[in-house]
Amino acid sequence: MATARGLSPEVGVPRSVIRLRRRRKAEPLDVARLRESFARVAMHGDELPLFFYSDLFIKHPEVRELFPVSMAAQRGHLVDALVKIVSQVDNVNDLALFLQGLGRDHRKFGAVAEHYDAVGASLLATLEHFSGPAWTPEVAADWKAAYELIASVMTAAARADEQVAPPWWRGTVVAFERKAFDVSVLLVRPEPRMDYLPGQSVAIESPSRPKLWRYYSMANAPRDDGLLEFHVRLIDGGAVSMALTSSSIADTELRLGSPVGVLTLSQPASGRDLLLVAGSTGLAPLKAILEQVAALQQPPRVHLFFGARTAEGLYDLDSLEKMAVQYPWLTVTPAVSDDSRFGGETGSLPDVVARHGDWSGHDAYLAGPTEMVKDAVARLASAGMAQEQIHIEDFGWSEP
């Protein structure tokens, strides 16, 4: 639901941090007491966020429509965020980064400054309810101070972001193509124009699945016409992917969140050659990076491995092979894991990559199914590739 990434330099990181410190001196916040208090209420598990949201919706019914019908995932997000905040409450710099991202991210959900007071009141009421006799004036003051810090950092980041970006972009689906049985490619026109780095992603909400946001990577580097390409794979039972892979999505208007993500070409360039490993629609961010490389004065050598279960799953191989013909610095190796009839490389993608030799002198960029990426990263690391050479996207707790 939220992400702490995608920091833009315009946002005043140091100012908020300074304010945090001043406040801490004025009203000392007992970190140990806060943690002890949280540990006590956290025992109640799901009851805690359940009470919180019900309290919030009864006191402020108008807030309910900002949330999806099912609140199950939402409750998990709230608890995760609280756990993170409480565990990092004495590490103000990291916490400020996290909260600033959270504040910016909440703009697309329609959160405004007044909501923060309402949330604070319900949070305190919830903590009080579950604390019982342990809710002393001191504990209450700790939590009040802690929440005020959280809200001030989040709202400050949101306000700063208002200067540079809309809360969300309108994105009209101008073209739709089914590339494989379960993969569709969407061409979307964002309004206003969206600036982003190749490899980044945006959260997308489809009109037929209100309040459900899922992250998708742009599959192209920014273009003159501003269009964005997305590769969407149908996930069994996936509410959003099902809406986006259906041809009825053509001409509809999506909502797009701010571009986020760290899977971007290292700047300044490392000078190393590139290894790109793409499983299925994990190809999208890597294709954007490939386009970026193609525009460089002196492109490094690039070896792209594109894997799928079956040959049909190599949905974009044609255009990749065209690029390989056009660019002498590019090698494309397709691989298929579940079809021995395939003429090219067969086996799991990490195996295929490992078979192709020593990559320790390369910068690696990987995207695709979580297990595949994890496996490939482990293989590259054990083969001597340094951690800073390995680039992956990690939405962590933000991915629903």
């Binding site: 359940l50 009470f51 949201y53 019900s54 309290d55 919706f57 009864i58 429509e65 019908v69 099912s70 609140m71 199950a72 309810h129 049985f181 379960d182 009109p207 037929s208 209100p210 149908l234 069994d236 039972g237 996936g238 509410a239 099902m242 809406a243 259906s246 041809s247 009825s248 509809t252």
Partner: protein, 224 residues
């Protein structure tokens, strides 16, 4: 399933769930497993009854509490703790929480159901594709064998001049092979077209149903 159940104005009753019927799928077409649908409807019915009962008892409880508060008779509860405003709020929070949990469960069930249906469709589609592949492999294999045979026999009989009988036999064999390959090609085409039209049919239905859902949402939004 018809989409009538998404009508917001109409309330569904447990009785209706028991009497609802589904149109049979067309002859020779695959449809949902009747037993599964029935089982699912049974579960929905039971859940529905439980909810109606719970709501009734909660409503009675609300009425009882309201009467007590209006009568100003807190009984032994001198400070209004048990039936005061704070207590009513906690009750309200509990009621809303249990309603939310029920809603979450419905969504989760629907999601699981949709996941199962999609997965089955995908597996079935993989099966159909594999069958078609095997079928076309077989046809190719047969054609190859026939062609090899024909080539070999042509070589063997090339040296001595063909007698009329042999020529006629060779021509007959050739005609047979042509017909054979035509028939197989026609079979393969019909089969492939059948598979394609099933997929198109499926896509059309999916698009239509999604459109309906999307329209439903737009309507609701414009009301609010």
């Amino acid at each position: 399933m018809t989409t009538a159940w998404f009508d917001e104005e109409r309330r569904l009753t447990p009785d209706e769930l028991q009497t609802v019927t589904f149109p049979m799928s067309r002859l020779g077409r695959r449809g949902y497993d009747e037993e599964t649908v029935r089982g699912f409807m049974g579960a929905v019915h039971a859940e529905f009854v439980r909810l109606v009962n719970e709501r009734a008892s909660l409503w009675q409880e609300v009425q009882r509490l309201r009467r007590r508060i209006l009568a100003g008779d807190p009984g032994s509860d001198e400070h209004g703790v048990l039936f005061g405003e704070a207590d009513a709020h906690v009750h309200a929070v509990r009621i809303l929480s249990s309603a939310q949990v029920t809603a979450d469960r419905y969504v989760a069930d629907a999601q699981a159901y949709s996941s199962r249906v999609t997965e089955e469709a995908r597996l079935r589609r993989d099966d159909i594709m594999r069958e078609a592949q095997q079928h076309s492999d077989m046809v190719l294999e047969e054609a190859h064998a026939r062609a090899r045979e024909a080539a070999v026999s042509a070589l063997n009989v090339a040296a001595p001049p063909l007698t009329d009988r042999e020529r006629r036999a060779a021509q007959a064999e050739l005609a047979y092979l042509r017909t054979y390959s035509d028939v197989y090609r026609a079979h393969l085409r019909a089969y492939t077209e059948g598979v394609l039209s099933s997929i198109e049919d499926w896509e059309r239905k999916e698009a239509a149903s999604l459109q309906e859902v999307a329209n439903g949402h737009t309507d609701r939004r414009s009301i609010s």
